[in-house]
């Protein structure tokens, strides 16, 4: 004889063992979000509000920033926190809207791949960047003023 389930009992019992990744994702969105507000508002203020704003951004400007560990760490944190935050947010949308599990799997694979590739690319750029690279003579003027003459 089959038993009748209590009203409102969930069809599948809650998982009781293992890491609850959805919970940690939920916590990550909030924790990284608070830090990102500070990092991105600071980024926008320094790059768009101070001095001539967007007009002043060029190779020398970025090289000047990355010559200091402070901005290297700032941008590295932004890179990792924002991409993981964004990719996890996109994963949520795919879970909500993808019409088939197969399409959802493809889209989530694409999201994961793009985030992973850009995190690796960005990290390599920040750590291997040379603010005073060897350039052809006609590009000397593009280098920051602190570079030694070539």
């Amino acid at each position: 004889m089959s038993t009748i389930e209590a009203p409102r009992s969930s069809p599948t019992p809650a998982r009781r063992s293992g890491v609850n990744w959805e919970k940690w994702g939920w916590i990550y969105m909030r924790a990284s979000g608070v830090v990102l507000v500070v990092l991105i508002f600071g980024h926008l203020f320094i790059n768009l509000m101070v001095g001539d704003g967007v007009k002043a951004i060029d190779f020398a400007f970025v090289a000047g920033k990355y010559a200091t560990p402070f901005w290297q760490v700032w941008d590295l944190l932004m890179l990792w926190l924002a991409l993981i935050h964004g990719a996890n947010g996109m994963r949520t949308l795919v879970n909500d809207y993808a019409s088939s599990p197969r399409l959802g799997g493809v889209l989530k694979g694409a999201i994961f791949a793009s985030a992973a590739i850009l995190i690796i690319l960005g990290t390599l750029v920040i750590f291997t960047f040379d603010p005073c690279p060897a350039v052809p003579a006609d590009q000397f003027s593009l280098l920051p003023s602190f570079c030694p003459p070539q």
Partner: protein, 140 residues
């Protein structure tokens, strides 16, 4: 003995759907906007990391691409981008308060309008300055 149903007040009928924060009005529309701005910011982020990576290629390549950010049409796009970021940031803080602050749910509607107010103030500070920077570049 029968119990007469409590008369439904006329006020109740026109009121927003009850029982959930996310159905109808500010609770729902802030959620919709949060998703739309989030997607827009995500795709910009992908492009922005690629264009910044050009600093590793050559000063000339980076300057050529970042130069497009100073074009007036892109400048208007940047206004939209910053507007999306500010909304997403402020509404994100509102969501955190709804989740963790004991009175967050009670004040979620008020907090939405505070988000809108702070957004207007920050944009009022940013937009004129940015547009002056962008449009003064024209012809230079």
């Amino acid at each position: 003995m029968s119990v007469a149903p409590a008369p439904r007040s006329a006020k109740k009928k026109s009121a927003r759907p009850g029982g959930t924060l996310y159905r109808g009005n500010t609770g729902m529309w802030s959620w919709v906007l949060h998703r739309i701005t989030g997607v827009a910011i995500f795709f910009f982020l992908l492009v922005h990391i690629l264009d910044t990576a050009l600093i590793r290629v050559s000063p000339e390549a980076y300057n050529a691409v970042i130069g497009t950010y100073k074009n007036p049409i892109m400048g208007l796009g940047e206004v939209g981008l910053v507007g999306a970021i500010i909304f997403h940031a402020l509404n994100g803080l509102r969501i955190i308060l709804i989740d963790f602050w004991g009175k967050g749910v009670k004040y979620q509607r008020l907090m939405f309008w505070i988000v809108v107010g702070v957004w207007v103030v920050l944009m009022a500070g940013f937009v004129p300055r940015h547009l002056i920077n962008v449009f003064s570049e024209v012809g230079n």
